[in-house]
Symmetry: C2
Subunit: 357 residues, 2 copies
């Protein structure tokens, strides 16, 4: 019988519809297991720019800090594409990650048997895929300074800085090893140590941390090879740990293993306060408001919240089980069409899942 305050930041586009679905499922969990979830709403991204003139209003940040966890939808859309950099929806996302110290982004990639045929890959390659990408989320080239435009001797240049402190690497690698311990006990650390100084530090630190986990195997893989191996033989992976930009690229690529980006949840864990949960997919302006979006990534993100922020394992499993059941029964949102089954709307999918919780 717990009492949990959840900050809900739907954001833009389909972020609205999919978080609404996840909230409904959480409510059903509350009823079934006797918890009280309080949902308080805040603006972020384009919606926040329109309402408050900034992609991450102070008010939203305060709301998050006073909550036990944050559920986020997605940000961005063509409406704000022409805005100057500091008034872009994505700035809200980057700012909340930094402000809440959300250093560890966990992106599980699981291929449900019944969706194997929805993947562009051959079914036997993806059936059984089950790994987690652990992406560093508050460092690297996303936040390094200097970053900007310079004119030198009449030459126009632009610069970005990839910077990592040893402790930043340590904490994320330790997170990966801790996770691997509860899984198949293998960590693949992805870097570009043959070119980047930061990757050489990364590799050294990974070796150091590995000594504290003698029961877990550590393997290093270059990022270009990893991009290939993810497609060639994805079942070789258990826990992949990597820096911010590589994690961004590899996790979107890996989404194709699960049949659709619409299936991938994520948790962004904080070092110091509430953690944040959001689908990996974006705001998909092309189908926003059409009741077509796949709500499963958001719903599975809510399940991660139950497990990782609230310690509610049975509740998380109930949600995951309900999702699996809906899929097994043949329900498919449009993005999952290639795997056959019956095409349903966002609402129908949510309805089915919440009833099965």
């Amino acid at each position: 019988m717990g009492n949990y305050r959840i900050a809900v930041l739907p954001g833009d586009g389909i972020g609205q519809e999919v978080t609404a679905g996840a909230v409904e499922v959480l409510k059903a969990v509350g009823v079934r297991f006797g918890h009280e979830f309080t949902f308080e709403y805040g603006w972020i991204g384009g919606a926040a720019i329109d309402e408050a003139g900034t992609p991450l209003p102070e008010e939203t940040l305060r709301l998050c800090r006073e909550s036990d966890a944050v559920l986020l939808g997605a940000v961005g859309g063509p409406k704000w594409d022409g805005n100057p950099p500091h008034l872009r929806p994505e700035k809200g996302l980057l700012a909340i990650r930094k402000q809440l110290d959300l250093y560890a982004n966990l992106r599980p990639v699981v291929c449900y048997d019944c969706l194997a045929s929805a993947s562009p890959l051959k079914p036997d390659l993806v059936q059984g895929v089950d790994f987690v990408i652990v992406r560093e989320l508050t460092g690297g080239i996303y936040f390094g300074q200097p970053s900007g435009r310079v004119v030198e001797n009449g030459e126009e240049k632009a610069v970005d800085t990839l910077l990592y402190k040893k402790e930043e690497i340590e904490r994320i690698v330790r997170m990966a090893f801790t996770l691997a311990r509860g899984r198949k006990k293998k960590v693949t650390s992805v870097d570009k140590a043959n070119v980047l100084s930061s990757s050489r530090l990364w590799r050294e630190v990974a070796e150091e941390v590995a000594e504290q986990f003698p029961d877990v195997e550590l393997e290093h893989m270059l990022v270009d090879n990893a991009a290939m191996q993810l497609i060639r033989a994805p079942k070789q992976f258990d826990v992949i740990v990597t820096e911010n930009m590589f994690g961004d690229i590899l996790s979107d690529e890996a989404s194709m293993l699960s049949g659709s980006l619409g299936m991938l949840p994520s948790a962004s864990l904080s070092a110091s306060g509430p953690s944040l949960y959001e689908p990996v997919h974006g705001s998909a302006p092309d189908i926003a408001g059409m009741n077509k979006a796949n709500p499963i990534a958001a719903i599975l993100s809510a399940a991660m919240m139950l497990r990782l922020s609230f310690g509610l394992t049975a509740e998380a499993e109930a949600v995951e089980h309900a999702v699996r059941q809906a899929l097994d029964q043949g329900l498919r949102t449009a993005d999952l069409a290639p795997s056959g089954g019956r095409i349903v709307s966002t609402n129908e999918m949510v309805e089915e899942i919440k009833t099965a919780v």
Copy 2:
């Protein structure tokens, strides 16, 4: 009846075997079309470290500068993995790119019909794939300064710098548009403009260059999305242009569309001197010296040399045709085994191709 000086840098591992194969095919072209090719050999990578104490000896560089084109194998191997950064084989590759001003790396990705089933992707998705990745090769985070380790207030940090000058972007984007003009007239410029300053400059410059090519369509794509789209629907691409690191990652990923990394050639075009041709694959120490490596990437790289450095179109086509014929006849090196056919050695494949030239 031309006279051409070719610098051959086999490098390490299977680099030796595959360049030997490409040289044999070039010799056959010489005989058939009446050209004189002179081959002069130089050290690079680990072999050069062993022989001359440095991954790119001055002598090798001089040889290249005095040649009409350079044929390179691959560099690297476990023997040199423990070396300090400036004595790594890869440094030789990076140095030769910079020294010869090889700014434009062209990596064609073609799926031969008879190899479609060797790809991890579903055959109908890859059959007909035919695009080129144009990777900027002498700028970006590979060469930006500062790059190194710092200790500040007792904190250990490592930094790398992603830097692009406007002209560097201009010339590579122009190359992409020029190529697209002779193809399907579509350029996809890949960046991370929602996060990186350098990508925002990249996007601006791409727009500017596009104005000079009104007959070619320009589309921008974020790198994370590109990593996904390459798998989801690879036939949408014609020419992809991107910065150094993104190009590294995306081209290795894209290799899976052609069935094997062993199929992918590349050209690295110089702004000022001889250009360089090399397979995209690495030195594959695990199969080095075993007469198992796929020589096709090296042979197709030689074909690119004939076309792009020497303007010998018919000769290039003869080589490409011979490759296609060997594959159509069912010859397969081990890496291509999943597509059926008869497994042959490196030598047998070379023999077949050179006889068919």
